[in-house]
Symmetry: C2
Subunit: 320 residues, 2 copies
Amino acid sequence: MRSVSGVVIELSAVIVALSDDAPTILLVPSEDVGAQGLPFGPFDPVGDRTLEEGLRRGVVQQAGLTLGYAEQLYTFGDRFRDPQERSGGPRPVSVGYLALARQGDDAPSPRESWTDWYRFLPWEDWRGGTPGLIDSVIVPRLEAWCAAATSKAEQQRRRDRTHLTFALGDATWDNERVLERYELLYEAQLVAESARDQGKPLLGVATGTPLAKDHRRILATAMGRLRAKIKYRPVIFELMPPAFTLLQLQRAAEALAGGRLHKQNFRRLVAHEGLVEPTGQISVQTGGRPAELFRFRRGVVLERPAPGVRLPVKRGGKSS
Amino acid sequence: MRSVSGVVIELSAVIVALSDDAPTILLVPSEDVGAQGLPFGPFDPVGDRTLEEGLRRGVVQQAGLTLGYAEQLYTFGDRFRDPQERSGGPRPVSVGYLALARQGDDAPSPRESWTDWYRFLPWEDWRGGTPGLIDSVIVPRLEAWCAAATSKAEQQRRRDRTHLTFALGDATWDNERVLERYELLYEAQLVAESARDQGKPLLGVATGTPLAKDHRRILATAMGRLRAKIKYRPVIFELMPPAFTLLQLQRAAEALAGGRLHKQNFRRLVAHEGLVEPTGQISVQTGGRPAELFRFRRGVVLERPAPGVRLPVKRGGKSS
DNA sequence: GCTTAATATACTCAAAATTAGCATAAGTTC
DNA sequence: GAACTTATGCTAATTTTGAGTATATTAAGC
C-alpha cells in the first residue's frame, strides 16, 4: 500500500439543543464570507486516541462546550467540498458527528450562537402545515428542472425523485429523507451552495440560508439521522430537562420530527412503552389544568428491544 | 487550523453475496499471519473524486470485482486498530463500506474467496435455534467477566449490558445489535483480537474465526446495518437473481437476519406490500408443488414510504 | 396406481395495536 | 361566572399481527 499525502482529516459536529419549541444548532463564524459554519477541528493522529475523543477536544477548544451524547454520522470526502481546495489547499475529509446538548448546560461565548435549524432547511418544518416555500418556490422550480432534462428517460427519473422526496402526487412526506431532499435541491441549483461550489453566479432565488463549505449537507444528514433515531432509541431525553410534562415531551418530538402529533395517542404510546415515570410533582406553568411531571425511566432500555418515542402523526383532525 | 500529517485514509469493503442459504463475504489474503482480511485500498486524494469512487477503483484493483450497491458504514480510527501501528507505522483511518453483489456476477480470482460470514460471528446465526456456542462458552465466560468487576456498580453495568445484548433473563434477542455483541466479547477477552491488540497471549478459547486488524468489527457493523436495512429498503433484491420463488426470498431474508420466519405470514407481508410481482413463470426445482416465480417490483419505492421485507419471526411453532 | 413426503398457497380467527375521536377534569383570564 | 386552556380518561372502528388449519400440486418409493 503506498502512502498518500495531502489529506487532512477534520472533525465537524452538528450540536443540537432544544430552545422552547425550536431545535437549535451551535454555529461559529466561518472563513467563508457571509456564512456561518459548524464547529470543527483537525484530527490529531498523535494526541487523539479515537476520532470521537478528537471531536470532544476540538469542540471544547472551539466552542467551550463539553459534549454529552455524540455519534458518528458520515464521512464527507467529495472533491471541492471546501471551495478553498480550488486554490491549492489540501484535500479535506470531514468526519461528521451528531451531538446532543441540553440548552443552558454551558453558556455559549459571544462568538457562538444557537440558531434554529429550520432556518437552513425551512422546507423541513411542517408543524404549521405545508411550508409555503414548497408550493411557491420549490415545486415550480423543480418541475422546470425536470422538464429541462435532455432525454425522456432522465426526465422520468427526475420526476420520480422529485415526487418521492417532496411527496408530490400520492406519495407521503417522509420526514427522514432530509438528505435526499437537500441533495435534490443542490442538483437542481435551488440552494446557494450549488452555484458557489461551481464558482458560478446564483440564478434565481436560493432557498434557505446557506452555511460554509458542505455544512448544510452535514446538517441534513444529522437531521435525518436524529429523526430516525428518536423512534427506536430514547435519545430525545438527552435534550429534555430532568423533569417535564408530557406536552413538553410532545412539543420536543414535534420540533425534531417537523410535524404535529396526536396528543392523546402520543401520551398513550409514551406511557404504554414505559418510557417515562411520574415524579409525583405537578407543573403549574401550563396556563390550564396543571400537568403531572415525568422523568425518563432508565429501565426501559433493558426491557424493550427498541425503546423510542412513537410518532402518531396527526392528519386531518381539529383537536389540539 | 494546523495541518496534521501522518494520517492515511484506507477504504475497506464488506462485500456480501448469497450462496445458497449462506451469506458470504469476499476475503483476501492479509499481511497478518494466519488471518484473512477484507479487501481494502488507499484513498487517493488526487485521483479520486469521491470516497466511494476510490473504493470502487480499489476493489476492482484488488479483487477484480465491479461493485453494484455500496453504502458507507462508519469510519474507524481508534489507535492501534492496525497492530502494525505499534512498530511505527502511520495512523490508519479506515472508511468502511457495505457492498452487495450477486453471486456469480464476477468469478473471483484464486486469491480471493467467498466465505460464510457466520464463520466469524457464529453466535449471530439462530436459524437452527440458539447457537450451542452461546450456552456452552459465551454465557459462562461473560458471567465470569461480570463477576470479576471491581465495584458493585461496574458489576451491575456489565450484567445489564450482557443481558441486553445476549438476551439473557427476559430480554429478547435483537438481531441488529451485532456490533454491541462483538464489542462486548472484545472487552471481555472472548475474541482472539483482544489479546492480539494488546500484544498479550490469548487466555482460554476464542470464539469465532479472527480477521486481520479490526476487520471483524467492520464486519459486525456491516451485518447490523444490513439486517436493519432490509426492513425498510428493498436492498435484499440486490442479492437475489432476477426471478425467484417466495421461499427463495424467505431463505435469503432468514440467512441475513439469522433466524427463521413464519412462512405464510412472510408471503402475506411480501405480497401485501407490493414488493414483488409474478413473472408468469413457474419454477420446477422445488421438490414439491412447483412455485410461481416473482421479480422485484420497482414501482414500490414510489408508493411506500419505507419498502422492505418485514420479518415475521417464528417463535414456538412447528409448521415449516 | 397408490401412498408418502415435500412444497405451495389460500384462508381463518383471535389478539393486539392503531386511528380518530368524544368526554370530562382542573386550572387561568377577564 | 363565562370563556378559554390544558390535562387526562375512555371508546369504537379498523387494521395489523401471530399462529395456525386446510387444501393443492408435484416427485419418489413401492
